[in-house]
């Protein structure tokens, strides 16, 4: 035990004597560990974002989009091709468990008293909350009765609420959309961001009000369709396409005047590209760590040579090969672990900075810090072993003669 503490004292003393070189040597490990920590944090953050997005989009939901842009066909363009009959027919499909027709108006300016804000307004039915995991924060959500009776009521996203009612409660207050007045009945829980859209800036009213009062006509642009299981999503898309072509009496030569998409799949697809990027960054972090390790090995080899005489002296007064090896190995491990710790701190800093500058969600897993520091320690052990062994095997008589 005495000698073990002594090893540490000797190793630390040797590092202190050459501290600048030690710092430069450890820098490789610092950079390596920092990039590993940062990449892991960004990666975990992105993973969480994907999961959150999928949760927000709803699981197993096919979005039917009735916006039809006419290019190179004789068909006339339309923003809303989905009829109430279409919605009813889709809901009859065997693998479909719920349908939520909805209609949005983007960049709509609404106001409350002197405050106004630009939002995305959604006309919805109660099923919307069900499919898209909408939950109530205060008050209540759009009910079946609101839809049936065409009540002028509104549910606010939290940011929309903050913009319109910065100083007081929103529920019971009046929001104006053009000349139409809505009574606020509730707010929805915080949803965060999806891609570039702030989901908390949305407001919700009963679907009939959007269709009849604000836009005119019975058709909707969108229908959210929940499918029984993930495996049936593609089949559902095919069935819905066949059904809607039939419903819309489209001749064979006509293009679909709607589209279906699996939004979760789109998110996952978008994620795949960034995953490749991350793997590359991870590899770079690994390479930096490797270079750092080689740096440590180089320094320890140089140190072994510089201190040949010292090793000879130590051996002449009773240091056995194991003791010399331990001394050098501890020196390498101290260097790499300190580098690893500094790297972990730098990695946390870098992660914060990335989160701040790029606006990405990041998630620092304590386990990843532990792994990173352990890897650094392993690097020190691995790359310190050979120089330590070399020092330990020095012939004492030759070492003492060394000038």
């Amino acid at each position: 035990m005495t000698t073990f503490i002594e090893h540490w004292r000797i190793a630390l003393g040797a590092l202190r004597a050459n501290w600048f070189r030690a710092v430069l040597t450890a820098l490789g490990v610092v950079i390596g560990v920092a990039s590993l920590v940062a990449v892991a944090a960004v990666s975990a953050g992105a993973q969480k974002e994907v999961q959150d997005s999928i949760r927000r989009l709803g699981a197993n939901v096919v979005l039917v989009d009735g916006e039809f842009i006419s290019i190179g066909t004789g068909q006339s363009a339309s923003e809303r091709t989905i009829t109430p009959a279409d919605v009813a027919a889709i809901s009859q499909l065997p693998m479909v468990t719920a349908v939520a027709p909805h209609q949005d108006i983007e960049s709509l300016t609404i106001s409350a008293g002197r405050n106004q804000t630009t939002t995305r307004l959604f006309g919805v039915t109660p099923t919307y909350a069900d499919i898209y995991n909408q939950a109530v924060q205060q008050g209540r959500l759009i009910s079946a009765a609101d839809v049936d009776f065409g009540r002028s009521v509104m549910v606010l996203g939290l940011d929309a609420q903050a913009n319109l009612f910065p100083n007081g409660p929103a529920i019971g207050q009046t929001v104006r959309v053009g000349s139409h007045e809505f009574e606020v009945i509730g707010t929805q829980t915080r949803k965060g961001k999806l891609a570039d859209e702030n989901l908390d800036n949305r407001v919700f009213v009963p679907l009939p009000l959007v269709l009849r009062v604000l836009l005119g006509g019975p058709n909707t642009k969108s229908v959210g369709v929940r499918v029984r299981s993930e495996g049936e999503i593609e089949a559902a898309q095919d069935e819905i396409s066949t059904l809607l072509r039939d419903q819309h009496n489209l001749p064979v030569s006509y293009a679909d005047d709607f589209s279906t998409e699996d939004q979760a799949a789109l998110v996952k697809e978008a994620q795949r590209a960034t995953t490749t990027f991350r793997v590359l960054t991870f590899a770079l972090g690994g390479i930096a760590l490797l270079v750092g390790g080689i740096g440590i090995m180089n320094m320890m080899l140089v140190a072994g040579r510089e201190r040949t005489r010292e090793i000879g002296i130590r051996k002449s007064v009773g240091a056995d090969p194991w003791t010399v090896q331990a001394q050098f190995l501890i020196e390498a491990v101290v260097l790499s672990s300190l580098g690893g710790l500094a790297g972990a701190l730098a990695g946390i800093g870098a992660t914060r900075l990335i989160g701040l500058l790029a606006g990405w969600e990041t998630l620092i897993d304590p386990l990843s810090l532990l792994v990173a520091v352990s890897v650094a320690l392993a690097v020190g052990l691995f790359f310190g072993f050979y120089p330590a062994r070399r020092a330990a095997r020095l012939d004492p008589a030759a070492a003492l003669r060394y000038e």
């Binding site: 005495t2 004597a17 130590r314 002449s316 007064v317 009773g318 240091a319 056995d320 090969p321």
Partner: protein, 243 residues
């Protein structure tokens, strides 16, 4: 066994040492037998290349003999592995080199403590014993100085303190005064003589006949062989070989 039947601290029998360097091989020792008994002060002399430094390195377990037997305090050394040899060095052998060989970044006290560190002596006892040893060589006041702030003579006295602190079975010295002016050399010799009077067994390599005369016995090497082995004119009472 010695001629009179008493066991020696050092028993060297027919030791040879062959150095190979590529094609060339040099026979530094060609069959040396010598017994050193407890309390002796042996000077090994001889011209350059006679093998005296090689002999000292073998005695100090820094080199292995090519053939022959070396028993230290009754234990055969030839068959020991490197770890065991290091432990024997640390326990039984005190070295003093011509170039002092102190650790430059450590204080005088830390240098003297070093053998005790490897012997596993606790910290408190270590510094007490090291301070005592420094006191014996008259350097208590310089304990916290680094070698670079000590004179050559002082450095060599620190080295002697380091050699004596483990109370070794034998102290080995290689030209201990070779780098010193005559006044410092005299101080060093006085300390050695004092240690010898205190019962220490000493083996010293020197090319100086004047220095060799201060020992109790003089072994002269020539061309890798023992040329002569005689008590000196002024052997100390403790010297066993005098008779």
């Amino acid at each position: 066994m010695t001629a009179d039947g008493s066991a020696g601290i050092i028993e060297l029998a027919d030791v040879t040492k062959l150095f190979r360097q590529g094609e060339i091989s040099v026979e530094a020792l060609r069959g040396v037998s010598v017994v050193v008994r407890k309390g002796e002060f042996l000077a090994i002399t001889g011209p350059s290349g006679s093998g005296k430094t090689t002999l000292l390195a073998i005695l100090g377990l820094l080199e292995r003999p090519t053939t022959g037997s070396y028993r230290l305090v009754g234990e055969e050394m030839a068959s020991l592995n490197e770890t065991r040899r290091a432990h024997v060095r640390g326990k039984r052998i005190g070295f003093v080199f011509q170039a002092y060989n102190l650790l430059p970044r450590s204080t005088a006290l830390e240098n003297v403590e070093l053998p005790l560190v490897y012997a596993g002596v606790s910290r408190g006892e270590r510094s007490k014993r090291a301070l005592d040893a420094l006191g014996e060589v008259g350097l208590s006041q310089r304990a916290l100085h680094r070698p670079s702030r000590l004179s050559g003579g002082e450095q060599q006295r620190v080295a002697i303190a380091r050699a004596l602190v483990i109370r070794p079975s034998v102290v080995l010295l290689d030209e201990p005064t070779g780098n010193l002016d005559s006044a410092s050399a005299e101080q060093v010799l006085a300390i050695l003589e004092q240690a010898h009077r205190g019962g220490a067994t000493i083996v010293m390599v020197t090319h100086s006949t004047e220095l060799a005369e201060r020992a109790s016995r003089n072994l002269r090497l020539a061309d890798g062989l023992v040329g002569s082995d005689e008590p000196t004119a002024r052997p100390y009472a403790l010297g066993g070989a005098a008779g």
